[in-house]
């Protein structure tokens, strides 16, 4: 196999890895935000991404709306969906000391949605075929798929948007404050429900963007969401919880790792290596790869 190896091929693998990893990254940012205020891993995040990919699929097949154009429907829809899910399912549980209740609700939601999606769209993979699905640029001998480039662009833009929101708006600051210390946040007047709802809205909003990216690149089925959220979780571990750019970078590293592993070893090994890296990072660098361990004064 090694005799086929060339600089171009390696570059191609790296590019593919980066482009795919950005999707893990934005899913991880959503997980990170929801974890920040709710203190649970929102395990249904991947399933939400798949659900919103199906919405994109429906808008395309039933109404003929271009997937990228559909973002102007899907992003507001998913923001509202996030807020609605919090209000309907998590509001009561969020007030409880025992976070396992919220986690169980998230697990229940995931299974419910997987099965509902199977009823509506069957378990067969769906995909969106547009005129640009197989559009490829070859600027320097490396294939750059149009849809993956757009996915990268959307990931970078939405990450920057989230960072700006968290840094520049008062409610964004409140989300960061509550992620650090919920009691102290309450003492300055920040109600937990407000920040939880905002975290959910942004988390699911990002799932909408990831869903559209996914739908334009890969075939998907209702059960792919669970694997996706596991990958997002690994990205989060790599990037460190509470670090938005770190989560995106974590996703990209994971994408690279998988791309290289599946070429040099096999698809099966690629997943095994991902999970092994997950465990190793948690064992030896639990605060994430990009956080310098600061000695507390």
């Amino acid at each position: 196999m090694l005799k086929y190896l060339s600089v171009g091929l390696i570059a191609q693998l790296l590019v593919n890895g980066i482009l795919f990893g950005t999707m893990y990254g934005i899913a991880a940012i959503g997980l990170s935000l929801i974890f920040g205020t709710m203190r649970i891993i929102f395990i249904a995040q991947g399933t939400m991404i798949i659900f919103l990919a199906y919405i994109c699929y429906w808008l395309f097949t039933l109404l003929g709306i271009d997937p990228y154009l559909s973002l102007i429907i899907i992003v507001p829809l998913s923001l509202l969906l996030g807020m609605g899910i919090y209000q309907a399912l998590f509001k009561e549980a969020a007030a409880l000391e025992d976070k396992n209740i919220s986690l169980l609700i998230a697990i229940g939601l995931m299974f419910l949605m997987e099965n509902l999606m199977t009823v509506i769209w069957t378990g067969n993979p769906r995909s969106i075929l547009t005129i640009y699905t197989s559009l490829v640029f070859r600027p320097i001998g490396i294939d750059l798929t149009f849809t993956r480039l757009v996915a990268l662009l959307m990931a970078v833009l939405s990450t920057a948007g989230v960072v700006l929101f968290l840094k520049k708006t008062l409610i964004g600051m409140a989300v960061r404050a509550a992620s650090e210390d919920m009691v102290s946040a309450a003492l300055v007047g920040i109600g937990p429900h407000r920040v939880n709802a905002v975290a959910f809205a942004i988390g699911i909003g990002l799932a909408g963007i990831a869903g559209v990216s996914l739908a334009t690149i890969y075939p998907f089925d209702p059960f792919y969401g669970f694997i996706f959220v596991l990958k997002a979780l690994i990205s989060l571990a790599l990037g460190g919880i509470g670090n938005v750019f770190g989560a995106l970078l974590g996703g990209i590293i994971l994408g690279l790792l998988e791309s290289l592993a599946s070429f040099f070893l096999s698809g099966g090994w690629s997943d095994a290596i991902s999970y092994a890296v997950f465990l190793l990072v948690l064992m030896f660098k639990p605060e994430g790869l990009f956080v310098r361990s600061i000695q507390k004064a």
């Binding site: 960061r176 404050a177 650090e180 946040a185 300055v188 007047g189 920040i190 509470g242």
Partner: protein, 243 residues
């Protein structure tokens, strides 16, 4: 009926099955400095937490400007005009000084005044202006305590509750802290102060309560308690009684 800003009447507080505060009553007059003193575990912090709504009383009543605070959450209490600087400061250490201050003005009553309050905070603590873009976690202990108080003042409180503001500070900073409390009080902020530094606290207090295992052991004017033999023996010790 006197003009009490805060009135705590017959309050019982329990942590699970353990009772921390027993049938406790205190009152804080408008414009006063009121000190709560006593040993560790006497229930001082618990009482502040109950007033600010972090925990709720099993029995009894808490009135602020005549209105009940029962069942209110902390974010509602702060919007009524009570700011609580908790023990250990509890700043948002990853956020900048400026972000901490801006969040101090989060309650609806304070939000429109945010810019003005910020100016006042910088006037009181010029060092915070110099450090406004640093993270709160990078400040020294004294600066952190100043930021905690400045953040609480951003909410435009009528009553400021301070839990051990002098804890962990150097003797010089402790003195600065007590001077600051008097300065704030002169600016019409009513103060409820929990302190281990009993001598200093009693010196500035108009009214003081000595707490012992969740009950009031003694109360009176600060200078009265300071002169009281029993208080001196039990809480202040030899060092001070010789003076």
């Amino acid at each position: 009926m006197e003009n009490h800003l805060l009135e705590v009447k017959g309050v019982d507080v329990l942590y699970g099955d353990v009772q921390a505060v027993w049938d406790l009553s205190i009152h804080v007059d408008e414009g006063a400095i009121v000190a709560l003193v006593g040993a560790n575990g006497a229930g001082k912090t618990t009482l502040l937490k109950t007033i600010s709504g972090i925990i709720h009383a099993k029995r009894g009543e808490i009135l602020f400007s005549g209105k009940s605070l029962a069942k209110l959450s902390p974010q509602e209490v702060v919007d009524k005009g009570i700011s609580h600087v908790p023990e250990g400061r509890r700043l948002f250490s990853k956020l900048t000084v400026l972000e901490n201050l801006k969040l101090g003005a989060y309650p609806p009553r304070a939000r429109p005044l945010s810019a003005k309050s910020l100016e006042r905070a910088y006037d009181l603590f010029p060092v915070l202006k110099e450090r406004k873009n640093q993270t709160a976690g990078s400040l020294s202990g004294g600066e952190q305590q100043m930021l905690a108080i400045a953040r609480a003042l951003m909410a435009q409180p009528d009553l400021l509750m301070l839990d051990e503001p002098s804890l962990g500070l150097s003797p010089i900073l402790v003195r600065t802290m007590f001077e600051l409390i008097c300065t704030l009080n002169n600016q019409k902020v009513t103060i409820l102060l929990v302190e281990q530094n009993i001598h200093q606290a009693l010196k500035i207090a108009n009214q003081a309560y000595v707490l012992k295992t969740g009950k009031i052991a003694m109360s009176g004017r600060g200078d009265e308690l300071l002169a009281n033999q029993e208080v001196q023996k039990a809480y202040i010790g030899e060092r001070w009684s010789k003076r």
